[in-house]
Symmetry: C2
Amino acid sequence: MRIALDAMGGDEAPEQIVAGALESVDFLDQDDELILVGPEETVKAHLKPAGSRKSKISIFNAPDIIGMDAVPIESLRKKPKSSIAVLAKLAKLGQADAVISAGNTGACVAAFQMRMRNLPGVNRPGIAVVFPTPEGPVTICDVGANIACKPINLHQYALMANAYSKHLLGIEHPRVGLMSIGSEEAKGNEVVKKTLELLKSDKRLNFVGNIEGKDIFSGTCEVVVTEGFVGNVILKLTESLVDGLFRAIRDELMEEKIRLAMKFKPVMKRI
Amino acid sequence: MRIALDAMGGDEAPEQIVAGALESVDFLDQDDELILVGPEETVKAHLKPAGSRKSKISIFNAPDIIGMDAVPIESLRKKPKSSIAVLAKLAKLGQADAVISAGNTGACVAAFQMRMRNLPGVNRPGIAVVFPTPEGPVTICDVGANIACKPINLHQYALMANAYSKHLLGIEHPRVGLMSIGSEEAKGNEVVKKTLELLKSDKRLNFVGNIEGKDIFSGTCEVVVTEGFVGNVILKLTESLVDGLFRAIRDELMEEKIRLAMKFKPVMKRI
């Protein structure tokens, strides 16, 4: 598989992106290949000290950069040779089988919508995130692409996240839940109630009904459908809460006994 | 302080409510008094084995019960002698300084709106929850009373939660944050954007602007304003995540070494 990677996307690009690419080499299959997309000389300079690990990594020149705060469509029009625009081109031309960018989300979405188009029947893109849970991976869509969702958008998010869960995570019949404030059908706002009807009547989905915030980590379903505002809060809250709890545990343990804290470290890492 | 307690509200009432009342006796001040509200004979029967702890507890007879799934206003009309209706009456007559119920939320809200009315200028009640965080208590309003919030409702929730934080939690100038999907003013849906303007121009509030899901536990503010759908997801997600993480840690530790798990128990309890 040829994986194209935006060398210039993200808060600490290209240093951290190139470092990550180099670290990932050990996890690649025999015929995998990494393509770093960015200004050739800059990327080359960061790759330099890496030695033999470079053999699976190539560079594709994209001299321009779209900043994190740039206006998506405008910047794509002005910078057709930006790493993000080139990424979309490589995908469209079949020169990359997968693309990765930690850059400007809006620009990424716009670039790929223009080049690749949506799935048939899908009007609006969504952002999906996979949460690792004790019961296996849970795909949540949308986490922030669309904060004025209509029921039809949510229905399409269900179909897209379902396809992702099935084909990329290998879950045969992903159970799909709709985020609400109670499992009863009468609960939820108007958008949720209308979406419930659409999901219930779609035979392609293994729909399990409304779920609540507590169900994400409880093995109730493998796909969570929610509008972007709620999904974004869920994502950021979860990240910070897990991080905060681990930090609180570490601090408490340090006060108790450093040796105990050290013993606890591998446990945390595994979780 | 006279605290009236709904003996019949909650999934395992009256057993657990009475048990909780008895446990709480040790934490009461000299002149505090607990009033258990419910069917006199039933409550008495559960209090019986308690011995001397009962001296601070009295019973106020309320023969009827409003079930967890009952329709609020209808059931209040039919059952004026239900524990919830009596609770509101005691508060209105000044016979209770505080009331507690784990029963039907809708019925509680309706009963108190009818008896006590809202704060001046407030149209709709909200449900506030106090999250314990490493940086101190954070009051979040609303967590589910109103899932079709208008900006004016959110403004009023800010004022109510601000008053709660100030007068009940003793925080002099609570910092108030508005839940959104980014700290920038341009982020958020239409309701959030309009609410932002209202909160910014209200001199009574120490408003710090938009916050994100990650800010709840990071000491950014002491009051979080959000509409009920998002607040409800936040509440239930947080509860389950903390619970789930602690369980995951316990399981991992148990596999490692039971002695290590035992050492870790008091740390968890403190957190």
